[in-house]
Symmetry: C2
Subunit: 256 residues, 2 copies
DNA sequence: ATCCTGGCCCGTAGGGCGTACGGGCCAGTG
DNA sequence: CACTGGCCCGTACGCCCTACGGGCCAGGAT
């Protein structure tokens, strides 16, 4: 199922790819039919529609009507392709709007990131450490600016942004994982529970796990009734922002 | 790199495996040399030491000195094996200690979960939706009990526990991802930045991303100096718990 | 006008993976 | 004593990534 792609290639090459550092050549046969952008776009489309599990170099090449190995003329390997896909996707975020107070800005950032991950679920499967593409840096800069000027230390600013982003990622991951399982099994939550709850009840009786049983039932009922994912997401987000507020208040004790 | 395993097998079979529902048979050839527990243990050892990317049915079978296909006598497939591994790993958590006030209890839970994920990094790569093993349910019950009796609704209790768990998972994921990249590249952060920062500086000048540049530099320096991962983890955790406190206080306005 | 060169494209092949299928083996039961 | 059903597993199929090397061809150099 899993793993990461190691990528392990030359970081200098990766950087030059991410920042599109390449003068158009003259030598060589006519116009190239392929280029990095087309490959990234095809791969992204495939990953969006069929999931990252279906993303293979063969499938990408097929989608482009080209031999598998042709991709390697433009991209060192699958790992670098994934990096390029992630940075390109982050390019969809608005990094210009810097209006409003910190809480409103962090809220907007959280919702925008969430929407992006929902659009491109595979992004959550790619490790982005040392992925220094232009769009990732612009995103980081934009997010940090939301908590700049609040008397936080630089390390605290970084932690705060990571805290919010971590919340977004973990909730989206949860949601997408559930959707994937539902898709794979061909049963939605209600069908599934109706079928297997009796079986589970025979194994784990309510007296052994009283709290889990009570809460699980209530949560199931709530989801079945008027379940609003945005509301659920907002609830946790406001808790996180309350925590940030406590920090911000403590750093600006006199003028608040 | 990624994906999940679909598993898609018969959930009833999975449940019976997770809860070890099987009377020892009599018919058949002598004593079986293999059993589910031995397979799960071997697979866990392999995943712990070499990463989930190295976990293959062949490798597990080799570690047990057995043919690959013999595993399928005890386990329907790789997906189910991963489920069994996860539930078994959660069995290491202490689910008895219910002493202390909610904040202290959530703090203990967060640290215990973090330690578990550090010990078994591959756990973060397995989707646990509808994974209803005995240890996972016991964990859920134990964690919910930490926020029981605080006048929270059941849905709020569930959200709160998820909030804390989500924080833990996202921070550990970040840390482990960074470690994996460092291992794969053979360079620690300091070496890496010393080598590639000049290259990056040529591409992204400081004036274009002023906040990212300032904060990135400060965070890098801080990590290089007296970096204490526990302290970093605690910082964010206390922010999360502050957010929970705001909720708890609002639900018990009169007697606090 | 010819040759060279270097980019592009990609077929082949090697070493992984998960697992379906079917068959050999043998202890206990009938 | 035959049978049966659990155990063990070799083989094979269809995927995956990618190293290697070769064919092709437009432009530059001579």
């Amino acid at each position: 199922m899993p793993s990461q792609h190691g990528k392990s290639g030359d970081p200098a090459r990766s950087l030059s790819l991410l920042w599109r550092t390449q003068e158009p050549t003259s030598r060589g046969r006519g116009k190239p039919g392929l280029n990095v952008d087309r490959i990234v776009a095809a791969a992204t489309g495939l990953a969006d529609s069929e999931g990252i599990a279906a993303l293979s170099m063969r499938r990408v090449a097929d989608a482009l009507g080209v031999g598998t190995m042709s991709l390697y003329t433009y991209v060192p390997g699958k790992g670098e392709l994934l990096d390029l896909m992630v940075d390109a996707a982050y390019g969809d975020l608005d990094t210009d709007d810097r209006s409003g107070a910190w809480r409103e800005r962090l809220r907007r950032i959280a919702f925008a990131n969430r929407a992006l991950y929902v659009r491109h679920p595979w992004m959550l499967q790619v490790v982005t450490t040392r992925l220094l593409g232009p769009n990732l840096i612009a995103k980081y800069d934009h997010e940090l600016s939301a908590v700049d000027g609040l008397n936080l230390s630089e390390v605290e600013m970084d932690s705060t942004v990571n805290l919010v982003n971590g919340y977004v990622e973990s909730t989206v991951r949860q949601t997408l994982g559930a959707e994937q399982v539902a898709r794979d099994s061909g049963m939605d939550d209600e069908q599934w529970w109706r079928t297997y709850d009796p079986l589970l009840a025979a194994l784990a009786d309510d007296t052994r796990f009283p709290t889990a049983s009570r809460v699980g039932t209530a949560v199931g009922r709530a989801h079945q009734a008027v379940y609003d994912p945005d509301h659920e997401f907002s609830f946790g987000l406001e808790r996180v922002l309350d925590g940030v507020r406590a920090l911000v208040d403590s750093r600006a004790p006199t003028d608040d």
